[in-house]
Subunit: 318 residues, 6 copies
């Protein structure tokens, strides 16, 4: 939507215009996706166990992302001396949101899966905006007919609960559901810390099912390079980012904050490294709850992180 | 919990102490309910169609209600010249909340119904704190073995949708579900206004199933006495109060606000009139979402209204 | 944008999807406006004299308007027994925003005028979302080649300052600028109250230039019918709504709040009456500043009012 | 402070400059008060029984009052056709605040009394900005050597508690303390409603000590003229305004909100009537707590009310 | 309160149920304390010198602590590979709050002391939730008949003012009051930084009375182990945590924030070290003011820190 | 304003009294500046490209600065063992604000320049409180008749845009405008990071015009001493601090936040080093937007930083 022009062109300040992701074009017809990256909202939050409100995550991230649309000539990073997302060659579309049906988790999840499958069929990389972390379940489901993936998670919580009171599709379950897939070849779970919904057995199960678990402090002791070395090289990576993997000081707008999380650059350097180590084939960013984000820090973080990540994915892929 | 005493007694200011409803005693053992009124929280909000957050309704109403606990000698109303809720004879307990299972509407509703049935079995009047308006469905279900009731609703929305996309238990459906019960003898729906989730057919269905529908402006033209006259006299009333029946100026903290609602005294005088016209046998107050209630107006309204209503129910019953 | 469909149709809850006005289609090509009503954002606020932030008015009103998009079958009003905005025949488009150039009032205003002229040329009714009240100046300018209009203003302030410290295009000047046009045949200024930026001379000038000024209390004493009678019948009306004409209790999110303003129904009934008394040919709604609207009351009011007004304009015109 | 001038004069918009009350001059030397009205802050809030924060009342009211300083030529009211507060003849000073000593109620109250006595000695009318309602106690004390006064209170609460747990100088006690003075000839207590900290005995005591008590609904039934008639004519009035006498919809920023309060014009018309009925010799406005006033409605109300009241006091006195 | 059970057990999500500390049982009868740890609220804030509101600290910390109650099987920490707070053996009770008397500092402090003495008499470890830092004074007083303690303080401010304007019991005085006790054998004051209420003489007095003072930067240069080594080993420690010792980025909700504070893990590692170095015999955590904590970061920090600290105290004691 | 005294002196707590900067005296007569440091507000924000609201920066920083006025004996820093800002010898005045004319950038900037010239003429060091970063343009203009200066900038953004859509005086242009001056001998731009409004050409232009650009990560790798070494020694420094140079976790209240910014001590140590390396002859601190600063972290940071910086400037100058 940034290509609008009348006689004299437009300055197109961030606060001007319809809020699509990064002000990229809106494509409501999911049979006409022609893009390298397709953004899909998944505004589902019935899977939360504490604060709700992640249903407004997609809308709020889109709004914050407009701040990062004002480099028309692309996003120049003086530290890397690279212009990411050059206007001429960047093909990103915003598909709007999957349809959500209140009271009905199964149908809502099915609708998300439907959208991700459309993106994959079109050959684009899906970038899904949650919603709570349970939306990762249909995202991973949608990869069932693709080549195997290695899952990289940034999160405060292990999310490896099998079942509790019958619940298997809440926001505490997605990594367990993913690990059960034969096309998920392994998991790297980073940022896991403190008391969590997952008990000791969950950690044991995760490790036995192929998971490498690192806390924030362990990540810091190792350094980002050593952490990247633990991730299998040259693979297809699906990256799931729970915003609560970051510190509450920069990500207060989330449902289950946990102190002691990552800084912005720790996250960015890990994501940057992944784009150079293999192929990122899918992304979701979840648990942004704008009702608890009065200054917009969290949505700004989500938008800043995703646009930098997408820029690097597109720049470093061959 | 207001009866605590050490050597010199306690002043027990509102900001002091555990926040139960009105600082009345907490009774976690639902087989030992000995009270005239039993308060139950129903922190369920997966039935919402716009903003979530009503899951924190019960906790926030309890907190606000502590402001109205500091008349130890009861609540003296100088206009009525009556002391409501006299400490000696008032038997109110707080049962805590029904258990909620994320992602699972049916089980959550069943747990609410379980609690209300316990209260009814104990001979107490249930006062249920929502949660979204769908929690009215299990509340009404719980009356299946009691004498028939007439349902009085204060609300901006008709909530009379039969089914849409398979949803029959969301917050747009409860009045339809109630009207289907043979032990619900009629409905009076007051405050209904503006565009709503209910289409013209819903209004026709409601009227054909025994509903009397009044907007805020119609209420004002008639006056409270004439409105009361339209409600069958001498009946058992179940009263469901959607806080969005009140004006957004005093009830901003709700999911689907609708301008043009009731003032406080319009609501109070209607409720006061009901206590004199028949027997109030059950109450729910729903859709309080404290994340949108930065100054506490909405929770204060809910607490002030409920304590005044309960006081009048207990005073006027014979 | 509400017409999206995949295999099973969409429930399209308000929190789902890209936020255009009322979820109506986005038309970025202003040479292809095919609609009865065209919505244009004018996110300009350098004309404010106290709090800024009205630049986020258009975006926030769009977001709030999604709440009122969920009657797919149109907006049924049970008091009027009319279904406004029936899906089949309603042609509304959202044009996005006029381009704003920071530090440059003249260019920003010119861009707004450019957009309104495009709408008028297409034969649609412009509905402009401010921005501060100075955006009314380019809106009125754009009518220079149309038939004359009578201007109806809802506002707390007279906005009739001629010039002060060289400022002629700030938010205190628009009504003076309008009155100077020969195609503005008269003004009705309603809601004016309290201390204002306009001194006694301004009131005298306004009256001498054809203005009828009424305070909120004068409006109430007269009643809405008598007020309507003072507006010339059968004319073309341009309606400018400063949200601060409404009471701060329902419109806190504005730059210069003034206590003692209108209720929702006072405003609605006046607007409803206008649609029956003549032709509404242009509308702007200004001064919504969402940074001061923590619960969304003000944006909800703006959206609810506009959708009801547009529905009535389209229903009652012949 | 509004008289500042450099070469070209100043526009002096409300957001510009040091925030004194109404941008009137700051006079830190209390032995040099030369004014008709002297404003004194009393930022004391240890007397509150629920929410604190009224200590920031004076500072926040000053800040809001800058909005009403931009009519340099005075405040023209088109309904009254009077220019209040004409710049040439208006002598108002801001004395800053009385010194407050944390943990020490007696000393803090003494410092407030000291300031009010200085004002009275200078022949000015004291306008005291609270702080909680207990600051009325030292204000009234300061009148001990003046002619008798009749006390008019706008409030939700009777504040007539004699003593509880040893407390005699909290915000529930001031009217009792005032009634005990021989130079307080009577009280008119208006707006009193709902459950209060005062029990039935308090009401009886108040009436027996010369108080006339009216609720909001009683006020409305009588009308403002009849209410004014109940106040002894031609007397010296001390007016104490608890902001919670007004409705929470316009005054959410207060410690103990009570629904069902006054509108702005009800308050203004009562105050306006007082200025014509006798001499207002002292004013306090208390219980503004800006931490609960996110949109500034309450501070705006306080400032708007006080400036209008002061303008009328000065205009109507002979 | 987490042991509630009906037929099928409860999931007991954090947002469900009465908010006691960690959802541990409420014990209103202070003569029946049977626990290892007893939590007492001290909602007193008349000792503050800037922002008030710490009176709501206990209630808000309890509410936040419910997030950390959902590991029914205890709190498994994968970094330590320890399950803290195992459900079977953990005996924690919540006593509610000490009674507070507005305007009366001495009586309020006496009531806090009364409660702590009850806890000590019962052989439990007191964990006191402030309230402002002055509540440490009665807490330390209550240890007068116990074995001597070494006081460890985490704070931005030295709080070592002797007397100013007669104030000896405000929130700037507690460490001075403690140092005067013969049963306080020494102080370690950590985190002290920047401009403070304490002048140079205060620092000299503190050092001469046995205090070891470290700033955040000094702490960082030394490292946590070296800091622990400066604290006498094998002693009984009383730990007082002023939340403003932590950085405003994670603890904005406090009265006198000071930039440059501790991160979460710096605090946790210090506390963890203490539990291994000696016996922690008392704890208070003060100055949480939820009115400034819009996202709940501060209350979450307080709850997360306390539950981790208590878990380690109970795990490491012999 | 802190020197007020009545019979017994004043405690002068931070929440008491008129909010001038640091409670230093207000000097409205700009021809009578007798001070070492003169504080001037520049509440201009029409130059912003995203969120507005910096017009309230001066007022909000003044308010926050009162927290740091309560060391009457000066500001003792125990790490440096220095008492900064000793009461006896510190001469700081607050001049209030430059006059701002809405809609008129050129006149508003001229008024700021006028004020800074007055300060320079009086021989004082100007400390200007923004307002957006465009206010730096008139500040630098005012130095045209002084000795040359080296400009040190702390910022997330390069602000080196030459012209775009005719805009040359917005908040993206000031460093370009400064670099064009012959009396600006060089620039050191620190903290620059991420996507910015400045494209690659801007960086090249900056370097070619004498700028040294360092990101936060580059600053950290070098260390503060090495960074200081890159700044020419013994020069006159003008320091411009954009609050968004700091991390959003401590400075959320700003218009265009950028994650990954400085901590408090990184900023302070750089500023401290400058005061020892040469002469600081002018300072501005810009882009504080209190509407996004709900807990006051940002204004506290601004005030804490400025008072510490001023203290060091005055202490270390010879």
């Amino acid at each position: 939507m940034s290509s609008h022009g009348y006689e004299t062109g437009r300055l197109n300040l961030p606060f001007v215009g319809i809020a699509t992701f990064g002000k990229y074009p809106y494509q409501p017809d999911w049979d006409k996706i022609e893009a390298d990256v397709a953004v899909l909202g998944a505004p589902f939050d019935f899977g939360t166990q504490f604060r709700a409100g992640a249903r407004f995550g997609p809308r709020s991230i889109r709004e914050a992302s407009t701040l990062f649309s004002f480099g028309h000539g692309g996003a120049y990073d003086h530290e890397d001396d690279i212009t990411y997302l050059p206007a001429e060659t960047t093909r990103i579309v915003d598909l709007g949101d999957a349809d959500i049906v209140h009271t009905d988790t199964a149908q809502s999840h099915a609708n998300i899966e439907f959208g991700v499958r459309k993106i994959l069929k079109a050959g684009a990389i899906p970038v899904v905006l949650g919603g709570d972390h349970s939306v990762n379940i249909p995202c991973i489901n949608a990869f069932s007919e693709d080549e195997p993936v290695h899952l990289v998670q940034i999160d405060a919580h292990l999310d490896f609960v099998d079942e509790r009171h019958g619940v298997r599709s809440g926001h505490g379950n997605p990594m367990r559901r993913a690990a059960e897939k034969d096309y998920v070849t392994g998991l790297t779970q980073i940022g896991i810390r403190n008391v969590s919904s997952t008990a000791r057995e969950g950690y044991e199960a995760a490790r036995s099912m192929g998971s490498d678990i690192l806390s924030v402090r362990q990540f810091r002791k190792l350094g980002v390079e050593a952490v990247l070395d633990r991730i299998p090289a040259g693979k297809r990576y699906y990256v799931t980012i729970d915003i609560d993997g970051f510190d509450p000081s920069i990500a207060p707008g989330t449902g289950t904050p946990s102190h002691g999380g990552f800084t912005y650059y720790e996250g960015l350097e890990l994501l940057d490294g992944l784009t150079k180590r293999g192929s990122v084939v899918g992304v979701d960013l979840v648990e942004v709850a704008p009702d608890y984000d009065h200054a917009g820090c969290t949505t700004t973080l989500a938008a800043q992180l995703l646009l930098n990540f997408i820029g690097r994915i597109l720049h470093h892929r061959t």
